[in-house]
Amino acid sequence: MSETLQNESLATDPDTNRLERAPRRSTWSAYLHSPLGVAGGAVLVLVVLAALLAPVLAPQDPSTADLALAFHGPTTGHPLGLDSAGRDVLSRLLYGARTTLGGAGLAVAVALVLGVPTGLVAGYRGRRFDGVASWLVNLVMSLPAMIVLLASRAILGPTVWVLMLVMGVLVAPSFYRLTRGVVADVRGELYVDAARVSGLSDARIIGRHVLVVVRAPIIIQAALVGGIAIGLQAGLEFLGIGSGDTPTWGAMLNEAFQNIQRSPGLIVWPGLALGLTSASLVLVASALRDALEGAGGARRARRRPAPRTSTTPVPVPAPVPSSAGSDVPRGGLLSVRGLAVAYGTDDDAREVVHDVDLDVGPGEIVGLVGESGSGKSQTAFSVLGILPRGGHVVRGSVTVEGQEVLELDERARRTLRGRVVAYVPQEPMSNLDPTFTIGSQLAEPLRCTLGLSRRAAHARVVELLRQVEIKDPERVARLYPHEISGGMAQRVLIAGAMSGDPRLLVADEPTTALDVTVQAEVLALLRRLRDERGLGVLLVTHNLGVVADLCDRVAVMQDGRIVENGTTAQVLRRPEHPYTRRLVGAVLDDAPCREPWEPPSSAPDRTEATA
């Protein structure tokens, strides 16, 4: 019974939390898309209805026994036959549902009442209350469950209600931990902070904001605990620790087992009822979880970019023909032509990148600009061949140093990664494996793909760290990611990208997650690397300031298409596409905060931009 008492961890992807705090409707529709979840839910509803309507549906009183009819098969009055004492199986099944489900409900209710409020307060308030509560939780979790169960039963009487009450107390810690964990996670989050600033009382914040977040995991946990409770009833019944003469499915199952030689069929109905109900609870729980965080915490996250591009019905202005297209000669280092990326399978495929053309020459920094969800990251991933699962290039051509990479098999493509095309990600912290030291994760590709010895790899790592201007590289190599700052982490990632001595760097918003001064340093580092090594850089960003600062050329993306393409000066000074104009205008709006590193030459003047 213990396996599901753990705290189900919910998606902690900060992105999901911030951007996709599930609106109810989408959760519902996601849930309804899971056939197993719907089936499970339907079974549960039926079982609950049957339990509620037992007095109406049952042919007779569940404990009326006619021994003359013992073990009799189905008859008109007794559609499911009679048991060893000549009691109507259907009636017992229906009334059994009441005690069985009622008992499970009691267990869940007790656990909820004890676990959730304490968890809320502990997670929200922390400190001393948390200390005391956690100690109590430890205490309860260390109690020898069986002994407590039997002793309580001896005191309070051998009824299913007592057993379930005690079980509720014993599993309450799992709800406490779950609630506390989730609440502690969201406590620091923006919207709770905001709520606090706006002067809401704690009670309102918990009620309005926090409870909403823990609701789903609690429902899931409750379903699982309910299933366990039902199973436990049956198990205890088998041990002779039964529920007295109240009909429960467990008692029926045990009774059937006692007569399995005489009438093996008796085991079918209670077994089926018990199995189907527990299975339904699990299915509902898992469908609900999938609906909330995407299947397996993943599938929906993978598709995240897809709905945004394809479901926006805003008419997309036609690409500006003069600044993009196949008439431009293909770039020497990277050349993308007519690239289209889609998610999903054939009939369900959603195209998120449409006919993109891009070129990067050696030593050239090309910006790929657009709002989040415009398809720029998908384009970058296609170049590297690291599209998330479900995503694939549907047409087009990508050449790296003149070689068509889309035709290469996975193994051949892998040899290009790191050594020819390297990648600098957006969020520095999340892109380092927290379980390895900086040194070992930088050394791994060196040893694995370049075949360096341990010692040589280490020397190279130190050298790389030095190149990205990290002081005391020997020490940093021994640190874990959580022990370094974001800026340093980004340098480490750049060092990692440079470790294979690539010719093309694909940098996906490399500065977005960093604070202002660090941004400038990282950009300077990129520029220096380009200058020293003649790197080509594809710089994915939404920040026109960065583009202006760094890029030679820029391509603007909207809704999966390149809408404008040209030299930086050209695009920023004289944006032709309305979308580009809007982007440029937006930059000017918050220009003051970017001023320190916006080269005056690239700042378009206000009249031009708003024109």
Partner: protein, 512 residues
Amino acid sequence: MKTTRILAAVVAAGVAATLAACSGSGGGAAGTAAQHSDTLAIGTMTAAASLDPTQATGSGMPYYQAVYDTLILRKADGTYAPMLATEWSYDDTRTALSLTLRQGVTFTDGSAFDGAAVKKNLIAFRDGGGGSATELSALKSVKVVDAHHVVLELKQPDPGLLFSLSDAAGLVASPTKIGSKDLATQPDGTGPYTLDTASTAIGSKYVFTRKADYWGDKAAYKTVTISSFDNENAIVNGLKTGQLNTAILQTVDQQTAAESDTKLTSQKFEFDFQGLILFDRAGALNKALGDVKVRQAINYAIDRDALLTGLRQGRGTVTSQIWGPDTPGYEKSLDDAYPYDPAKAKQLLAEAGYADGFTLTLPALAGITTDAMTSALSTQLKKVGITLKWDSLDGSTALQKIFRDRAYAGMVMNLGQATDAWTVVQAAILPGTFNMFGYTDPTVTKLAAKIAAEPADQAGADAKALNEHVVDQAWFAPFYRMTYTLVTDQTVKATTQSGMAVPSLYDYTPAS
């Protein structure tokens, strides 16, 4: 380098052990069967308590019989034969029993079996506060005549004494160990086996090994194991796979399961009766029960045949008396004294002034009253207007409420049917455990006294009179005697013990 060598050694040892186990007969399920002829594996639902004989009760006898001998041997048919006592005789007043003791017998620790040892054991049993201590309550003193003769002096005649001396009270442990706490787990007797403490898991599996220098006939088996289980399903599985050679089965379904296996032999026998004991015959707790007509009405309201068919699939014999066929005083016609007659029951209730019925609260005990039984009884009695209310109780709480708090006017119980009338009278009729309200009437008092005073083999007529009286007065509402089966596999022959739920350990012999 070093690690590899150690690892290699470990692997080699493991392989060697596996090979040894496979080539020998000890490996796995198949191997156990090969050892049969010199090993007897008994499965039982009776958990052994202490092996200290002063704490012994009849139900655990096979455990004790391995290491201890009793003064008198009770044979399978219930007759007595010499064991540690070679001869015995009463005086004319039946208040002094002389025993001649076997010579040349020693305990495992080397001390001699003699009159002093017998005295020490009997007194320790009487005063030791064990569950069967009352068996010797009539014992005034033990006179040691010489090393091989003792006289048991009684306060009053006790027709059950010989039975007791062939049962728990007759077990004799080494006098040097009597009173020691270790006796509970390290028994020391004159019996045919010794406890192999190394292989024994107290409370679940006891392993006994044959004593080379046993005074009597060499024991039939080199090793005897008695394993206790919580459910008969495990026992039947053990029998089917040859891991157990014999067991008693009580539940009908498991009996059927064992019978379906052609390699197993099932002998049916009856020992317990199951029925409603109506304690409150004076109506102290439940006024209605004070009226004999009400008690008779209950008897008429119970459809015994239906109960037997439904609850035990017909395995047993319906009865209205608590005497069993082997008990002096048994009267076959009394089995049908109360045929199923709800009309008559209603009429009797009306005559007693309970035309509208009444409510009777009974304890529902896990292990005795099944859910099916309570439903069936409730339904049957409801038909004549009696409402049964069942209180679900757990093991030791139940004992407290029933026996100490006297919270119930009656209960459903299984009671064994002893081979002598006095034991029945003592256990179920006279004030005591199963007559906790202490009710009696002049007829009962008179007949009980007579039975107590006469030799057991002459008590038949009075016992029958008492039996008839108790049935007529409806002290009980028995349902049926239950059929148990003694299951044996092909390697062993066993004989059921009269008046006991389990065979004596001596009554198992190799089949070949």
